[in-house]
């Protein structure tokens, strides 16, 4: 070391410079570490926070959104707001809405996307019906009035994509034995996640909620072939010459008074 010093290879100035750089680099490394951990944590959005229509997937969104608030300003229904620091919401300054407070009214001209200067809200989304902000899920069948056999139907009626995103599926009311249940059923492909159903639910807490798509949907099993679809594709039975044997019925069925079979195997066959 001292030899190097004598030979002038390491001057005092250089030592000082290297020391300064090392100190600064250390400070920067601490900052970087903290921010790296922090930015991972904020990627976990609270499940009731919904991004505006056309929002890129969360990771890409956090890269593209500059937190300017222009989408918030151009939202005519004051649906959107910017996340405050420290309120446990999405990343500070990013736009979101809580459907139960103010749902998305699905404006046809989508002014929020129009306003976005960076494309964090995807400008290629032109039809609001194609938006995918989340998926409504009937989260509590035990409290849903329709499931209890009543005709509330409110979520179904308010749905902007009525009869496509939410259909009323009629099933027997097993409680009374003689009535129907009109079960509100969400068809995720048509649901935009606007949250009008969640807002409108008459219960103190909504039985139907918009959830992020990652939570609400699963990927279908691609390896699993559905026989009836394959049959329709092929145009004929997949295994030729399969014999359909008659279903066995109770031998003395005709002797039971008022017996009506639940289904008639003879009917409904192609």
């Amino acid at each position: 070391m001292s030899d190097l010093k004598k030979s002038g290879l390491i001057s005092v100035k250089r030592r000082q410079f290297l020391g300064d750089v090392a100190r600064i680099a250390c400070g920067c490394a601490v900052t970087a570490t903290f921010l790296t951990v922090y930015q991972v944590q904020v990627k976990a959005m609270p499940p009731d926070a919904i991004r505006p229509p056309g929002a890129l997937p969360e990771e890409d969104f956090l890269a593209a959104c500059i937190r300017c608030g222009l989408c918030v300003r151009d939202c005519p229904y004051d649906t959107l707001k910017l996340a405050d620091l420290g309120d446990g919401g999405p990343a500070t300054g990013t736009p979101y809405f809580i459907a139960r407070d103010v749902p998305c009214e699905m404006c046809e001209d989508i002014p929020c996307i129009e306003a976005c200067p960076t494309g964090a809200l995807d400008h290629s989304l032109k039809q609001i019906d194609k938006a995918d902000m989340g998926v409504a899920v009937l989260i509590d069948q035990e409290h849903c009035l329709n499931y209890l056999g009543l005709r509330c139907d409110v979520c179904y009626r308010v749905c902007p994509v009525i009869d496509e995103a939410i259909k009323l599926v009629m099933t027997p009311n097993t409680r009374t034995g003689s009535h129907a249940v009109f079960a509100p059923t969400v068809y995720a492909d048509a649901c935009t996640g606007c949250g009008k159903c969640e807002k409108a639910c008459v219960l103190p807490e909504p039985a139907i909620k918009v959830l992020p798509t990652r939570l609400a949907r699963v990927k279908g099993a691609e390896h699993y072939r559905l026989g009836w679809e394959e049959k329709a594709k092929a145009g004929n039975a997949l295994v030729p010459g399969l014999i359909d044997l008659p279903d066995r019925m109770p031998e003395d069925a005709s002797s039971v008074p008022d017996f009506k079979p639940l289904f008639n195997p003879g009917k409904g066959k192609p």
């Binding site: 790296t36 222009l70 990343a91 960076t118």
Partner: protein, 307 residues
């Protein structure tokens, strides 16, 4: 601190306006820019929408903060044309006028750190922790590398500058806490610590300051009597010496990219040493012997010996 002032200074009377014109103009400008953003939410007059991060003026002029835009691009996201255009306009404007005009004439945090600086002087506190001036450049590099490495605008999660402006326009939440931290830091921990040493956003705008037109010139430097008022008040006081202490025909212009063009040195100088000018004006006012000015130690010693 002992100050050396020429005795013949006592007859100089400058009005409060003269002593504070650029400070007042700066505050008015800062309030004006903030007012443009607040007129919409407060009074329904939508001249400007958005925040300093990105805005739309009169529904036609897009402006985007290039510091944020660059981070976005480094994450691999290519912004829409409006955003890019807004960024280019801002970069060009600041490159021509003066990059760090943003810091002292627009940035809302400047009011906070100026207040801290004022209190720091009033309390006559020690400089405190003074990290190297170039620390902010390393911070800038760190911020950009973070954007690249994490694929998100990580620094925006803590950026006190954008946070404060957004807070004022959209609602403060806990942002007050951040403001208080910056204020306390600048007052008690580090003189001019945030804006002068750490803020990577200021460092970025400083990079746009290389060739900008508006400059402060110590054109009247021969009148200087070393009272140190300008050094005391300047948030980037290392920029003064080369211009003020220049010998002969060395440029009197403050050419350092760290100068924020705040004009406070012009305000505080009783001897009108400084002025705003453009970067091609290298004129030096040559000194008249009868006016107050720098006390040359050699001549003053000689004079004393004669008497």
């Amino acid at each position: 601190m002992k100050k050396q002032r020429s005795e013949s200074r006592e007859h100089i009377k400058r009005s409060l306006w003269q002593q504070n014109r650029f400070l007042i103009l700066r505050r008015l400008t800062q309030v004006f820019f903030l007012g443009l953003f607040l007129a919409g939410p407060w009074a329904g007059i939508w001249l400007v929408k958005g925040t300093l991060s990105g805005s739309l003026t009169l529904d036609i002029l897009p402006l985007t903060d290039p510091f944020l835009l660059l981070q976005t691009m480094l994450t691999g996201h290519w912004p829409e044309l409006t955003g890019l255009l807004g960024g280019v306009i801002v970069v060009l404007a600041y490159m021509v006028l003066g990059g760090r005009l943003y810091c002292s004439w627009v940035c809302p945090m400047n009011i906070v750190t100026d207040a801290a600086g004022w209190l720091h002087r009033k309390l006559d506190l020690k400089k405190g922790w003074q990290p190297k001036r170039q620390t902010r450049l390393y911070m800038l590099v760190t911020v950009m590398l973070l954007a690249m490495g994490t694929g998100s605008l990580a620094y925006e999660l803590v950026n006190p500058v954008t946070m404060l402006h957004r807070g004022l326009v959209f609602g403060m939440g806990f942002v007050w806490g951040v403001v208080v931290i910056v204020f306390l830091f600048d007052t008690f921990v580090s003189r001019h610590g945030w804006c002068g040493h750490l803020c990577p956003m200021g460092a970025f705008y400083g990079l746009l300051n290389h060739k900008s037109l508006l400059r402060v010139s110590a054109s009247n430097r021969e009148a200087c009597d070393d009272c140190m008022d300008c050094f005391e008040v300047c948030p980037e006081n290392h920029v003064i010496s080369p211009a003020l202490r220049g010998k002969g025909e060395q440029t009197p212009l403050i050419l350092s990219r760290d100068c924020t063009d705040c004009g406070r040195c012009i305000d505080v100088c009783d001897l009108n040493v400084f002025e705003f000018t453009h970067r091609f004006n290298t004129k030096i006012n040559h000194h008249n012997e009868n006016e107050p000015g720098r006390v040359d130690p050699v001549t003053s010693f000689a004079k004393g010996a004669q008497q």
